[in-house]
Amino acid sequence: MSGPALLLAVVLAAPASASEASAPDPAPAAADTPGAAETSATPPADAPSPDSTTPDTSATLRSIPAPPGARKTGRGLLIAGGVLTGFGVLGRIALEVYWSTAAQIVPGDPFGRWSVANVALVTNMNNVLFFGTGLGLLTAGARRRGDADAWSGRWRDHRRMRLVGIGLLGGGLGLLALSRALFIPIADACPTNVCAYTTLETTFWIGAGATFAGAAHLAYAVGQQRSGSNVRVRVTPNLAPTFAGLALAGRF
């Protein structure tokens, strides 16, 4: 070749995540294609070739518009998580109805310490079966949705969302943990069953609500942030005796 050759090197700097690596990801530039694999064998663009006569210039960051619908939106996860969480909500409400009717708890009596183990059993059955799995799915879905939204150009203030998420999640989990760890002293201090069960349920709903909202915010923000980092590309001009061109590097 007599003229300067144009080389476009696309380097996959790192896989975005295990889940993403396992998921087919057609965009951009067909990163999972054999061609992409070949290019990954080339030296990283930001590690200049020994032949390079031009020192690495400052990186140029750009956003690349993505083809619509190229990312998984997390819709299935969100629906599944919502359904499971809905079951959890219904189960908890059913438990409260049971406590206030068929269990024949005398409202004005002191809380019975004997029932602590059963309270823990019935509430945690519901929590583990429905709320826990629901939370996991919703969180995964929110993360994926954040990623997909960012990919399709719908950006939100992920830093703020992250802070809000951490605050809500920490507060919710903290309230749940503290109120459960201190439940026996709280119940002992309560003069009546009404007080003890109201405390139990109020802290649950507030704590769970904050935990879910916080986890969703945080996961969405993480999704957006990671997607943001994924679309960072570095375009580096390369000039060598045998070729001249641009090296394009980044995470996709």
Partner: protein
């Protein structure tokens, strides 16, 4: 109560592999009482006659299910008569003080556990009335069972304080599990140090505690010096495991309690009050039950009574003045068991004909009927037992009490509990 049995049976099936235990005491065979041959014991000889190969069995053998094959009902008639004869042989006391003793299952159970509620009907109405009714009746010592909740203990304690009684209910945490309360007239307690004990049996039906309604069976002990006579008195209040199929747990509990009751000087008096959850006599092995199935295995339940007498060296105060009438009253029931007849009318319409002198757990009690209706034998479940090797006490009366319906106003008329009370009046030597 049927719903409790259903729930416990389901839980038992679910948890059986994890909770399996054979209930044979670890130290079985090491006590002299374990090694006695049935035929050589005046308390247990009637069992030998009803068990296959019974002539060769020792007391320890009774704790092994594979060694106990009943071929007939064990008839305690001779045992009842022997206790009367022993008591009659005692010389009269020159000077004595009267002691009125009550054992009463107050039936204040009202608990929930996963997906189930278990409770004795009319809990709210009865709990409000019991302290005044019981502590206003002149009893000196009250052994109460099934006062499960601390709030109910507080009610008894408040009434006790008003009426000159003192009360012991164990520690708050364990009390919620055993539900026992002992009440003693304060004026009877001398200056000598008192001793208190709270024991939970090793033999338990574990699912009663968790995920059941938080029950762990045990006994309370209270030792004090009887001020009017200077006699040391040891009180034991207990509530054995319920349900006929759990006879093994009950028998082991009887051994434990009997051993504790016997561990006192011979000149001291020991009083055991409690709901022992089994009668001395069951004429047929099949009786009661749910739906179509008739419950079998009743004969084994007749072992608890002679076992606790044997291990504790105890006397049944209800069979001291005259032979207890368990055999006669059981004979008045309708046989073979006809579920429809027993469901249609308490004890198949025979309540009026059966004197209230024996059964303390019976469908003739409207609250009991509401819970159990035709599922179990009526029986004498509640006892006042006496240990008095020194011969310092006499039984002067024994009766079944609190069998009348009370007027609860708008709530209706019903008994104070689902059990009747077992009462004894004693004379204590000065």
């Amino acid at each position: 109560m049927p719903e409790l049995r259903h729930a416990l049976a389901a839980l038992a099936l679910l948890l059986a592999p994890a909770c399996a235990d054979d209930e044979v005491p670890d130290d079985l065979g090491t006590w002299p009482e374990d090694q006695v041959k049935l035929v050589d014991s005046p308390r247990l000889a009637h069992l030998a006659a009803a068990i296959e190969g019974g002539d060769a069995l020792t007391v320890a053998d009774l704790f092994y299910t594979d060694r106990v094959r009943f071929t007939a009902a064990a008839d305690p008639t001779d045992l009842f008569a022997a206790q009367v004869a022993e008591h009659a042989a005692l010389p009269p006391l020159a000077a004595s003080e009267q002691l009125r003793v009550l054992s009463y299952n107050v039936g204040l159970l009202n608990r929930w556990y996963p997906f189930t509620h278990v409770g004795v009907p009319r809990y709210l109405e009865r709990r409000a009335r019991q302290p005044a009714e019981l502590l206003g009746a002149g009893w000196d010592i009250l052994f109460l069972q099934e006062a499960w909740e601390l709030v109910d203990v507080d009610r008894f304690a408040a009434e006790a304080a008003r009426r000159g009684y003192t009360i012991y209910s164990g520690s708050p945490r364990k009390h919620e599990q055993h539900g026992l309360v002992i009440v003693v007239r304060e004026a009877l307690i001398g200056d000598a140090p008192q001793e208190f004990g709270e024991v939970q049996y090793a033999a338990q039906r574990e699912i009663e505690k968790f995920p059941g309604p938080g029950i762990e069976r045990g006994y309370l002990r209270w030792s004090f010096t009887h001020a009017p006579t200077g006699r040391r008195i040891h009180l034991y209040d207990t509530h054995f495991t319920a349900f006929p199929e759990l006879w093994q747990e009950r028998d082991v509990q009887a051994r434990t309690l009997g051993g504790a009751a016997k561990d006192h000087p011979d000149d001291d008096l020991v009083l055991v009050g409690g709901d022992l959850n089994a009668g001395p006599y069951y004429p047929e092995d099949r009786f009661g039950g749910d739906d179509e199935a008739v419950l079998a295995g009743w004969w084994k339940n007749a072992m608890m009574y002679p076992l606790i007498l044997h291990y504790g060296g105890l006397v049944d105060t209800h069979s001291a003045l005259a032979p207890a009438r368990d055999v006669e009253r059981m004979g008045q029931l309708l046989y073979p068991f006809d579920r429809a007849a027993y469901l249609g009318d308490p004890l198949a319409g025979r309540c009026a004909a059966i004197p209230v002198d024996t059964f303390t757990g019976t469908d003739c009690n409207s609250i009991y009927f509401e819970q159990y209706a035709a599922t179990e034998y009526p029986a004498r479940l509640d006892y006042v037992l006496l240990r008095d090797p020194g011969g310092h006490a006499r039984v002067v009366a024994s009766e079944v009490v609190y069998h009348e319906k009370l007027d609860f106003g708008a709530a209706g008329a019903f008994e104070l509990s689902d059990h009747y009370g077992a009462a004894a009046t004693l004379q204590i030597e000065r």
